[in-house]
């Protein structure tokens, strides 16, 4: 079962359902019968309180059934804890609790009406006045010697970094900035709630159905057993559906109050404030090296924005300090409070901003050393992380660079910036390292093998488009030796055996290891009966030599149809309920899984080792020398992520990640009106993501890697890996094309224009 053999020919098991519109997403459910429709009213101020709330005329408008606000829901919804503090919420602000406004776009009322149009028209009529205080929109400039006001925590450190930086012959000291970003999944934030016999069913796209179940029960003060979350398919999530948003509990109470299912389809603009987002970051990176390029010091300081209520941080120094061999390391993270919603997980939350800074600085160091940037990474490559000296379970970073460089044609790169041109376009080649920690969490799965040789797998994993149904089906098909189309997979429902939150790229590793265990259990029971049988071709054979292949039990001496072997057990079906508890799972980790609080382990969390997937990102950019447009004709990424269960879906994930990375470098940024601490580009015309015309040639290459330590199946996970480092690779390529070092994302025409010829 181990190894990284590439399986070809597997399709996405739900492909036909998806392209024929039969796959049902959270938004596709109507809660049973004729739901009422909800529309949100949100605050236009970022700080202050509501002074007047005139709902009486709105209650009289056509179709209006109920208006939810602090007036009738104040104190009804328990404020939950945020995920990093052991809770389930994106924010600790209890919805519709009081007149206090914590951020612009906070929900202040929900209008429920018979139709969507009536609810929306009525919501617009609600007259609300505020007493407004001047908000802090983002980083507040600090006092003398302090960059920004905030709470600082020291990060990983070893040696004397400041001293070594001062003494070293070649050094870099640079500041970088990344912008606010929002997930903007294609599917909007929708919730449909229905009560029946005191029990609540919620249809809402979620990458954490157990967390939503337990969190919602806590918010509403009802037993978790009375809450069910249904989310068979998600139209994108990217971290934005990891935590309960501000809407679910409110819609659940609304449905209870009117005695009818209620459906909310929040607008695209609402999606910018009712859930989480990636907050802007600032960095100062100091690197120092010997003249041969050996790192002597690495100091990474990060600044992040969180809300006034919650201290959320991504603290990417955890990985940025461990990527290269370096004897002297220091780091810190400062969190600055602003009048904003609480940020949350988004697409490699820590690695995207922190590796932008580090991998840009590495490129600057290579320039200062007059050294090829790949060679600089090779000189500082390590199999042992430099802080605590823990070994990587496997690390194929340089193999990725070598394979990627070959495919990309890195040797055609003239290192002199601005030296490569074609007509009016300047050409730049850039590269950067990618890394993503291999996190794992406990997971459970129920495997049922029927007498006819077909199987079913049930686990509350989450199908976000990443292909979890496909990897689970492949694992079960291989584990039971049956054709892929004989495996039925059920995911995305809190009534199934628990799977962890689909975050941190852990799903494939966590869930498939549980599925494989369940299959092994079933195999062992079948084999035991077959070898102990009074007759049959496997009678008396050695159990461990029997394989399950293509519907047969096979060993050197003979074979027996699987159905015959199952029939011997005298049952209609064999069932196995498997739990997997990965290496390093803390005490209580499995119990936590059953309450939607899976204990994440792996990555940088382990005492005895460190486990990460690696990659090398290569890009070609073209910059128009007159008008400064940046185009990306080629992306080549080479990735080593252990065993690839499903090459088809893994490649799609990596490719999507590479496009995200390009998007983060050149397109995505939420713009803010700083006077009002409000976002202004809250639609897909203003919040840019690449269109098909922006995408050139993309190659996503798997570099073979076997890792027998990381978990039984040797899986690392590719969900976020393709995204990391690409922003820096693009900035590095822009430097190579133009000689201009842009340390702020996204890179825009205005950054280049004044300094182009």
């Amino acid at each position: 079962m181990k190894g990284s053999e590439v399986r070809r020919g597997y399709r996405r098991v739900d492909a036909v359902l998806k392209v024929t519109g039969r796959a049902r997403y959270g938004s596709d459910f109507d809660g049973g019968t004729s739901p009422a429709h909800a529309c949100l009213v949100t605050s236009r101020i970022a700080r202050g309180r509501i002074s007047r709330f005139e709902e009486t005329p709105v209650r009289a408008l056509p179709g209006v059934l109920e208006i939810l606000s602090f007036k009738n829901l104040g104190g009804r919804i328990k404020p939950g804890q945020t995920f990093p503090t052991g809770g389930y919420m994106g924010s600790s602000v209890a919805p519709l609790d009081s007149t206090t406004i914590w951020y612009a776009g906070q929900i202040i009322a929900v209008v429920i009406a018979n139709t969507f149009e009536e609810a929306r028209a009525a919501a617009r009529q609600l007259k609300v006045e505020y007493i407004e205080e001047p908000p802090t929109a983002s980083f507040a400039v600090g006092h003398e010697g302090v960059d920004f006001e905030g709470q600082t925590e020291k990060g990983p450190a070893v040696g004397d970094a400041i001293g070594a930086h001062t003494a070293a012959p070649v050094k870099i000291d640079a500041r970088y900035a990344t912008p606010t970003q929002h997930h903007n999944s294609m599917e909007l934030f929708t919730t449909t709630c229905a009560w029946k016999d005191g029990k609540l069913t919620v249809w809402e796209s979620s990458q954490n159905v157990y967390g939503y179940q337990y969190g919602l029960a806590d918010q509403l003060g009802i037993p978790p057993a009375d809450v069910r979350i249904v989310s068979p398919y998600l139209g994108g999530a990217f971290g934005g559906r990891s935590f309960l948003s501000q809407t679910t509990a409110v819609i659940a109470l609304g449905a209870k109050m009117i005695g009818r299912p209620v459906r909310l389809e929040a607008s695209r603009a609402d999606g910018f404030t009712i859930a989480t987002y990636r907050a802007e970051t600032r960095h100062r990176v100091r690197l120092a090296a010997s003249r041969e390029g050996r790192l002597q010091a690495l100091i990474h300081e990060g600044w992040e924005v969180s809300s006034r209520r919650d201290t959320y941080k991504v603290a990417g120094v955890d990985v940025s300090t461990r990527l290269y061999a370096c004897p002297n390391v220091a780091s810190s993270v400062t969190v600055c409070a602003a009048d904003r919603a609480t940020p949350g997980f988004m697409r490699a939350p820590a690695e995207v901003p922190y590796l932008f800074a580090l991998e840009s600085a590495m490129d600057e160091l290579a320039v200062a050393l007059d050294m090829d940037p790949i060679e600089l990474r090779r000189i500082n490559d390590t199999q042992v992380e430099p802080i605590e000296g823990r070994p990587y379970t496997s690390r194929a970073l340089m193999q990725c660079f070598d394979v990627g460089a070959e495919r990309f044609g890195w040797n055609r790169r003239n290192p002199t910036p601005g030296s490569m041109r074609e007509q009016d376009w300047r050409i730049g080649f850039g590269c950067a390292s990618s890394l993503y920690p291999t996190f794992m969490a406990p997971a459970a799965a129920r495997i049922t093998l029927w007498a006819d040789g077909a199987a079913q797998v049930q686990t509350a994993a989450h199908e976000m488009g990443q292909g979890v149904r496909t990897v689970v089906a492949i694992t079960a098909a291989e584990g039971l030796g049956i054709p892929l189309d004989q495996v039925r997979v059920e995911v995305g429902d809190s009534s199934l055996p628990p799977g962890p939150v689909a975050g941190g790229s852990n799903s494939t590793a966590s869930v498939c290891n549980a599925v494989a265990k369940g299959c092994q259990d079933i195999r062992e029971r079948i084999i035991a009966a077959a070898v102990a049988a009074a007759e049959g071709p496997l009678k008396g054979m050695i159990a461990r030599e029997i394989r399950f292949i293509a519907g047969y039990l096979v060993c050197a001496a003979g074979r027996e149809p699987l159905r015959t072997a199952i029939a011997r057990l005298g049952r209609g079906a064999l069932e196995s309920y498997a739990e997997n508890s990965p290496h390093g799972t803390p005490a209580g980790g499995v119990a936590g899984m059953y309450k939607g609080q899976p204990a994440f382990t792996g990555g940088t969390f382990l005492k005895d080792r460190i486990q990460c997937a690696f990659g090398a990102q290569f890009v070609e950019v073209r910059v128009h020398e007159r008008t400064g447009e940046i185009r990306v004709p080629r992306l080549v990424g080479a990735f080593a992520a252990g065993r690839i269960v499903s090459p088809l879906t893994a490649r799609s994930q990596l490719m999507g990640g590479q496009i995200w990375g390009m998007s983060a470098a050149l397109h995505e940024a939420t713009q803010m009106d700083a006077h009002h601490a409000r976002y202004v580009n809250t639609d897909l015309a203003g919040y840019l993501v690449p269109v098909a015309a922006d995408i050139g040639q993309i190659e996503s290459i798997f570099v073979p890697e076997e890792d027998s330590l990381v978990n039984d199946l040797g899986i690392k996970g590719v969900g976020e890996l393709g995204n990391v480092g690409l922003n820096a690779a693009i900035a590095n390529a822009v430097f190579h094309a133009t000689g201009l070092r842009i340390r702020e994302l996204p890179i825009r025409i205005e950054h280049l224009l004044e300094r182009l010829s």
Partner: protein, 337 residues
């Protein structure tokens, strides 16, 4: 969106009758609106920037106003011709490439298939403070309420033709190509038919709530583009952050009549940088009679932006607008790609 009455007009007369003749027309938020492609009107109705009581669907008049005609005197485009129809028309592409290119680079394929040419001319700005009614400072939406964009995020905003009342950008592309070529629009209204110079149709930014000189109830029925030796030698260059489906940061519509390397006549309009479709006559004068060199193109571009008034985040548009024009001029003159 508020409830509204929907009427289908089957003739010009029935359209005008549906419009009626209100004694005190609300020019800010007309209570009766014509509906063609609907790509703008429905959008703004959902946002409640516009909230008409009645909508008159004029798509039934397509047989009358849906044709493209090419004569020696020029090009005639019916107001109900769809953007994609004109962009794909072989005659337009051959004889008026600047028009075809401006249309092909606008919006998305879906929108181009729906949107009418008449409606396209009346596009409203994308300024957030205008489109989102929860903002309080927008003189265009609420006269006298101020302009939040002056000191807000104004990267996308205009540098030419702006005022202290409004710095919003005219977002379209097609109108620039028409203004460059000196097009006129034909209208019909309660007081009869008339023909208006397109450039003069757009008002300045002093009173931003009034964008055009169309009379209440007046309907654009067609566009007439005069022929000229420059129309074939023309192009539309649009610069933006992504390759497609985005409004211009800067654009230039350029048509040149060249003789032995010298400019006999230049027709230039600018987009993405201006409050309204912007004819750059100063740039045209600089080029007239001169050889089309990089130096002359640069001088022309400088003249075009002499009156620019940038704000904090859009100062780069002064430079980008000039570079865009220079590139477009050299491209039409065959000196660059």
């Amino acid at each position: 969106m508020r409830a509204f009455a929907y009427i289908r007009a089957d003739s010009t007369d029935s359209a005008l009758r549906g419009m009626g003749s209100p004694t005190q027309p609300d020019r800010l938020n007309p209570q009766v609106q014509y509906l063609a492609g609907g790509t703008l009107l429905l959008d703004l109705m959902k946002l409640e920037v516009l909230s008409p009581h009645q909508v008159i669907d004029i798509n039934g008049l397509e047989s009358e106003y849906g044709r493209i005609e090419l004569t020696e005197g020029g090009l005639h485009l019916g107001a109900l011709v769809r953007m994609s129809q004109a962009a794909d028309d072989a005659r337009v592409r051959r004889d008026y490439p600047v028009i075809a290119q401006s249309l092909a680079q606008a919006a998305s394929a879906q929108i181009r298939n729906m949107a009418s040419l008449g409606g396209n001319l009346l596009q409203r700005t994308r300024c957030t403070y205008f489109r989102d009614t929860s903002w309080q400072g927008c003189n265009k939406r609420q006269p006298g309420s101020g302009c939040a964009a002056l000191n807000g995020p104004n990267r996308q905003h205009a540098v030419l033709g702006v005022s202290d009342q409004c710095i919003s950008t005219y977002p379209g592309d097609f109108a620039q190509s028409l203004v460059a070529l000196g097009a006129t629009v034909e209208t019909v209204g309660p007081t009869g038919r008339r023909s208006v110079d397109l450039e003069a149709l757009y008002r300045d930014a002093q009173q931003p709530e009034l964008e055009t000189n169309l009379l209440p109830g007046e309907l654009i029925t067609g566009i007439r583009v005069p022929a000229g030796p420059w129309t074939r030698n023309s192009a539309y260059l649009k610069i933006r952050d992504r390759v497609s489906y985005e409004f211009a940061l800067a654009s230039a519509a350029v048509a040149l009549d060249l003789s032995e390397g010298r400019v006999r006549e230049a027709r230039i309009a600018l987009g993405g940088v201006s409050y309204r479709p912007w004819r750059a006559r100063e740039a045209e004068s600089v080029l007239k009679g001169q050889p089309l060199t990089q130096a002359n193109a640069t001088a022309a571009a400088r003249a075009a932006f002499a009156t620019a008034r940038p704000r904090a985040q859009n100062a780069f548009k002064v430079e980008l607008g000039q570079r865009t024009l220079v590139r477009a001029l050299l491209q039409v003159a065959g000196q660059t790609s």
